[in-house]
């Protein structure tokens, strides 16, 4: 027998996750925005005299082996991170959602089969390998990384969109819309999309977290953001040889990545609870 959990308990929990996730994401976004106008120092300025400068004296977190200010680099790195996430998730959603919806609205057709089999193929292909290959062919860089991560994330969106669409398609309101004379395209835009939207938003924030990790990994491997543009992944890579002598150089970008990923994951989970129509109904009825 299924147990209904109380609406109140859920409300409390989802607020905590949502708030924490939202706060972390907001922090990252705010940092990125501020970095456009102000950073303590030029994050790309190489200063031989300030090499491995200790924290303090205007250098809040010290400087790296080229004398670049770590704090300023972190700030601008947030920009890169968000940029990669937005574009990669954007590509994934723009391709994956229509494909998934098309597959979900024609569940027994050849189109659906084709979409989902190609989807499986892409899904089975490691995202990082794809990025490395694209990088080798078209040259490594932020754009290549974004496209690779985006394409690799398409199947995730297509699957979620298809599963959600299948659920929506069997509801009476779709039948009612058809009986009212709505054509397929209008049904997709007016009924299916709004009703699967919440699941897509959740997927987007989870994919965002994965994209951040992927970009960091690619930059670490040298297939991501090219120098001198600051990136958290490359900061990690550059700190590698000094890991034991100056651990703080690895610590700060590591913390930044962890917090950003945690933030988007928490936000995703929080949104999942928050947007759940069943919970919403309970709230509305009270």
């Amino acid at each position: 027998m299924s147990r209904r959990t109380s609406a109140k308990a859920n409300r409390g929990r989802m607020n905590a996750g949502l708030l924490a996730g939202g706060a972390l994401v907001a922090l990252v976004v705010l940092t990125a925005l501020v970095s456009f106008f102000w950073t303590p120092h030029d994050p790309t300025l190489v200063d031989a005299a300030g090499k491995l400068r200790e924290p303090g004296g205007g250098y809040l977190l010290g400087a790296d082996k080229f004398g670049r200010d770590t704090f300023s680099q972190l700030m601008v790195g947030a920009r890169t991170t968000l940029y990669v996430g937005v574009v990669a998730v954007g590509i994934a959603a723009a391709l994956g959602v229509p494909l998934g919806m098309a597959a979900g609205m024609t569940p027994r057709g050849w189109l659906s089969e084709l979409i989902m089999r190609v989807n499986d193929l892409v899904f089975a292909f490691p995202a990082l390998l794809l990025a490395v290959m694209l990088g080798a062919v078209y040259g490594a860089g932020t754009l290549t990384a974004m496209i690779a991560i985006g394409v690799a994330t398409v199947p995730a969106f297509a699957r979620v969109a298809r599963a959600a669409t299948l659920q929506v398609m069997v509801t009476d309101y779709i039948l009612a819309a058809r009986a009212a004379g709505r054509r397929r395209g209008a049904i997709a835009l007016r009924h299916v999309l709004p009703n699967i939207g919440s699941m897509l938003i959740v997927q987007a924030s989870v994919s965002f977290a994965i994209a951040i990790l992927a970009e960091a990994a690619l930059s670490f491997l040298g297939f991501g953001t090219r120098p001198p543009t600051p990136s958290w992944g490359r900061m990690l890579q550059e700190s590698q040889e000094l890991l034991f002598s100056t651990p703080r150089l690895a610590l700060w970008p590591g913390i930044a990545i962890a917090l950003a990923v945690l933030g988007f994951n928490l936000l995703g989970d929080g949104l999942r609870d928050f947007l759940d129509p069943k919970l919403r109904r309970i709230r509305a009825e009270r």
């Binding site: 027998m1 299924s2 147990r3 209904r4 959990t5 109380s6 609406a7 109140k8 308990a9 009825e285």
Partner: protein, 304 residues
């Protein structure tokens, strides 16, 4: 045998069931009638100790010598499925889809201390008792291989497995076809040791029970022997509900109760029915007490 006194079920600050009292004697079949939001299912769940999280029960409910309300979960657990058992509306979700029927019937007995062998022998007997054809075959089947009516019979077999003193049925036939429903109702009436039967359907109650409690807005508004309550309803709600339940031939207008059933917690103070009642007066702002011997009702302006 079962006695309930002042049972109140609460979520947050809202009383979903308010001050409900009734008793069921051994062998007696009592119907609990109500529409959505009446609190009828919560009343049953609170007796089973199965209230949803965040919903609490207060008051007294005793089965024989044992308290059912306000005791720790562990104490009720032993009673559930043993002294007191329940059949739910949807048999598909109440059965484990991955376990064979026989094993599910046996399990409820071994859980309450019977030997495996004894339980197995008895489970065949039980499946026969609920008139399932070919009980041996049914025992080997999985839930999805049975029809809705057959699944509900299995639920009944499980409920009866440990010879409970009281059987609670919550809309057990609502999901079934009428022809299947009829047989199921006859079976329940026959095998129940003592019955609390919850439904929204007056005609179903009339065919199974001897006594009835009418709930509305979380309160019992009328109670008594079925024949008396249904032929001479006193509470205006019962009267309206009975009138609305009888479908007349075409061309006639159906008698209606105005308005809709309020959402939980939105019922008016005083008499819970007064915002829909054609006989309501300012007096009804004071809550009427449930009074009367045998046939009791809570109404300031009862029907004759």
């Amino acid at each position: 045998m079962l006695s309930v006194e002042g049972l109140t079920v609460r979520a947050d600050a809202t009383d979903l069931v308010h001050d409900v009292s009734f008793a069921i004697a051994p062998g007696e079949r009592v119907g609990l009638i109500g529409e959505s939001g009446s609190g009828k299912s919560l009343t049953a769940l609170s007796l089973m100790g199965l209230l949803p999280e965040g919903v609490t029960a207060a008051g007294r409910a005793r089965l024989g010598e044992r308290d059912l309300v306000g005791v720790p979960e562990s104490r009720i657990k032993g009673l559930r499925g043993d002294e007191l058992s329940m059949v739910f509306q949807e048999p598909m979700t109440a059965l484990n889809p991955l376990m064979r029927i026989g094993a599910q019937v046996t399990e409820v007995m071994t859980l309450h201390g019977r030997s495996r062998q004894e339980a197995r022998a008895r489970s065949a007997e039980l499946l026969e008792r609920v008139r399932l054809p070919e009980p041996a075959q049914i025992a080997r089947a999985y839930p999805h291989q049975l029809s809705g009516g057959q699944r509900q019979r299995v639920m009944l077999a499980i409920a009866l497995a440990n010879e409970p003193r009281l059987l609670i049925c919550d809309e057990p036939t609502t999901a079934l076809d009428v022809t299947v429903q009829k047989q199921m109702l006859e079976l329940i009436a026959e095998v129940a040791p003592a019955l609390l039967f919850i439904t929204h359907d007056l005609a179903v109650v009339a065919s199974v029970c001897e006594r009835v409690l009418v709930m509305y807005g979380g309160r019992v508004v009328e109670s008594g022997p079925i024949r008396e309550v249904f032929t001479r309803p006193r509470h205006r709600y019962t009267q309206g509900l009975l009138a609305a339940s009888k479908l007349t031939p075409r061309g006639t207008r159906l008698p209606v109760i105005e308005g809709g059933v309020p959402a939980a917690g939105r019922f008016p103070g005083g008499c819970v029915f007064r915002n829909r009642c054609p006989h309501a007066t300012p007096e009804c702002e004071t809550p009427p007490a449930l009074t009367g011997d045998g046939h009791a009702f809570a109404c300031w302006h009862p029907a004759d």
